[in-house]
């Protein structure tokens, strides 16, 4: 087999794997069950909760990721290597372990003090956002750092010789030139947060109409052997996720393969 053929076969195998998984849902697809599940108040709550929490988590992650990624891209400072290494931490450690670590943190004196005096995270909406935020932050920083790396530092130097302060140069030159990476990082962080399950369930639990996000709802339906309901919710999640990825491609063009 030629290189061309074998590599194309591998690419199609990827499509077959994911496409096959989605198509296999059809076996248990029940129109009435889908309608019932989609129209139920509990599902609508889960969708709303997932969308709001993911949007909030992705926004907060970017607010921290943008300056952090810029620092990693432009400056040499003590601890830089360590920060760079820790970005992969959420990928290496499973989301469940990450969630467990958060839960353990909120049971130590500092965590308890935060819970009592700042914001209650455990078994709450804030806990969902925090769990998603912690899961997606590293990826967001990594993506943004790559985007900032691609903007020549010399453009900032030129901007500064033209009278711009470092902040003005960042906002008028660097950030606009990194905008594609910024949009891609936001949408991917958002999509990852939307599908987040392990960390969320550890920190926020599985309380119906309180902390039940879409992935949690899928888990609960499956746990109660409601296959048709599970399929219906998976389809909702897949639709939202695919719509987000499609929007990414439309926004960024074919140059960025999200």
């Amino acid at each position: 087999m030629t290189l061309r053929r074998s590599t194309i076969a591998a690419a199609l195998a990827v499509l077959l794997l994911y496409g096959g998984l989605i198509l296999s849902l059809a076996w248990f697809l029940d129109g009435a069950a889908v309608r019932a599940a989609v129209q139920s108040e509990r599902t609508l709550f889960a969708v709303r909760l997932s969308l709001v929490a993911a949007t909030l988590a992705a926004t907060l992650a970017l607010l921290l990721a943008v300056p952090a990624a810029y620092a990693l891209s432009r400056y040499r400072f003590r601890g830089r290597e360590l920060v760079d290494t820790v970005l992969e931490f959420p990928i290496i450690v499973s989301p469940a372990a990450l969630g467990a670590m958060l839960l353990i943190f909120f049971n130590n004196p500092l965590g308890e003090w935060i819970q009592d005096n700042v914001l209650r995270f455990v078994f709450s909406f804030a806990g969902i956002v925090l769990a998603q935020f912690v899961t997606v932050l590293g990826v967001a920083v990594r993506l943004l750092k790559t985007s900032f790396d691609e903007v020549p530092a010399e453009l900032e130097t030129v901007a500064r010789t033209l009278g711009a302060t470092p902040r003005h140069a960042f906002f008028t030159v660097t950030l606009p030139l990194a905008r594609r990476g910024l949009i891609a990082a936001f949408i991917l962080a958002w999509a990852k947060a939307l599908g987040e399950f392990g960390a969320t369930i550890m920190v926020a639990g599985t309380m119906a109409m309180r902390t039940e996000t879409l992935p949690v709802a899928i888990f609960l339906r499956l746990a109660s052997a409601d296959i048709e309901g599970t399929v219906a919710l998976i389809l909702v999640l897949v639709s939202i996720g695919l719509a987000a990825l499609y929007a990414t491609r439309r926004l960024l063009g074919k140059a960025v393969h999200a």
Partner: protein, 355 residues
């Protein structure tokens, strides 16, 4: 205008050492050197991107040590030009005014003048990516000058262009520089560019200033063998000063004897440096002339070149002469032909041999 005193700058494992340099108001000063000589390190120190270990940089009398880049009063045109790709040409040109909060009425007349002088009026609404190399250079130049800098820093700005476009832009830059009395620090490894544009030259090698002065002085009288080699002096031969009388030195080079201007320190073993364009070739003898060195020489080869041909001669030592093609045809120069090589005494430069 720009004074650099005993400047030492470290950049990674490289160190630029003890640089002294002065650029007067309205002067173009070229810093020449091969890659890795420290040109960019010097530029970055003046820009404020690299801190100095010791020494001082002053611009218009003010010490730049604690002055941030944006307040140094610099116009900067880097090798890659640094045009902002997401802005139109117009927005690139007015970036400085917007960054400084200068009202349009104040900066627009100067921008308009520069746009007209460089012929980029039709490009204002285009993005840099749609411009040709020459157009981009002009835009970069106008942008650097539009902020009315006290010092213009040019970092090999014409390297990427073809020969004819480069020369066209050299003329444009020289006109602008003279007309607007711009103070320019030009960083380049291109000898022709430095010679054309600058008034004075500093030669940097291995992080040190090895020669500095008027361009004609530096080009004609390199201070050290490595400078002569870098400047591409065609004839560079070991010789020995055998006598000095009335300010003239007699030098043995190979089997020939040359007369040169004597200078302090040029005794004993020397390197004889003669530029190819200082050698005149003559056939069939000739009338008596003031030229002190008339060497019988045999043509070894004639190398093609544009616009000058390089003639390699055996004059008792290898000697190179640049002549035009018509002159070559008129003299019927080909290998084996015998000619007289005429070199005025001041064109024979003696470099003390170190070690």
């Amino acid at each position: 205008m720009l004074e650099i005193e005993s400047l030492t700058v470290a950049a990674g494992n490289f160190r630029l050492r003890d640089v002294n340099l002065a650029v007067g108001r309205g002067e173009c000063h070229a810093v020449l050197g091969p890659s890795g000589s420290g040109k960019s390190t010097l530029l970055n120190a003046v820009l404020g991107v690299l801190p100095s270990e010791s020494g001082r940089i002053r611009l218009a009398g003010a010490d730049l040590k604690r002055v941030p880049i944006e307040r140094r009063g610099l116009g900067y045109l880097p090798q890659q030009l640094g045009l902002f790709p997401h802005l139109t040409v117009r927005d690139n040109l007015t970036y400085s005014a917007r960054a400084r909060g200068v009202p349009a009425a104040e900066f627009q007349p100067l921008v308009d003048k520069l746009v007209a002088a460089t012929g980029i009026g039709a490009l204002l609404d285009r993005r840099p990516a749609t411009l040709s190399g020459g157009e981009r250079q002009r835009v970069g130049l106008v942008r650097a000058l539009a902020s009315q800098p006290r010092l213009v820093l040019l970092d090999e700005p014409f390297t990427a262009l073809n020969e004819s476009l480069r020369r066209e832009l050299w003329w444009l830059l020289r006109e602008l520089q003279r007309e607007r009395q711009l103070t320019v620090l030009l960083i380049t490894h291109d000898l022709a560019e430095a010679y054309f544009l600058s008034d004075r030259v500093t030669v940097l090698l291995d992080g040190r200033v090895v020669q500095q002065g008027e361009k004609a002085e530096v080009y004609g009288r390199p201070a050290a063998p490595e400078v002569a080699r870098f400047l591409g002096v065609e004839t560079l031969q070991p010789g020995r000063v055998v006598s000095v009388r009335d300010g003239l030195a007699t030098v043995e080079v190979g089997t020939a004897r040359l007369t040169a201007l004597a200078s302090p320190g040029t005794v004993g073993e020397v390197l004889v440096s003669i530029r190819g364009d200082e050698v005149i070739l003559q056939r069939d003898g000739g009338a008596v002339s003031s030229v002190r060195n008339a060497l019988p020489a045999r043509v070894v080869s004639v190398r093609p070149g544009s616009p000058l041909l390089c003639v390699e001669l055996d004059a008792g030592f290898p000697l190179f002469a640049f002549i035009t093609r018509p002159a070559c045809e008129e003299l019927d120069l080909r290998p084996g032909v015998t000619v007289n090589a005429l070199i005025k005494a001041p064109a024979v430069h003696l470099i003390p041999r170190s070690g």
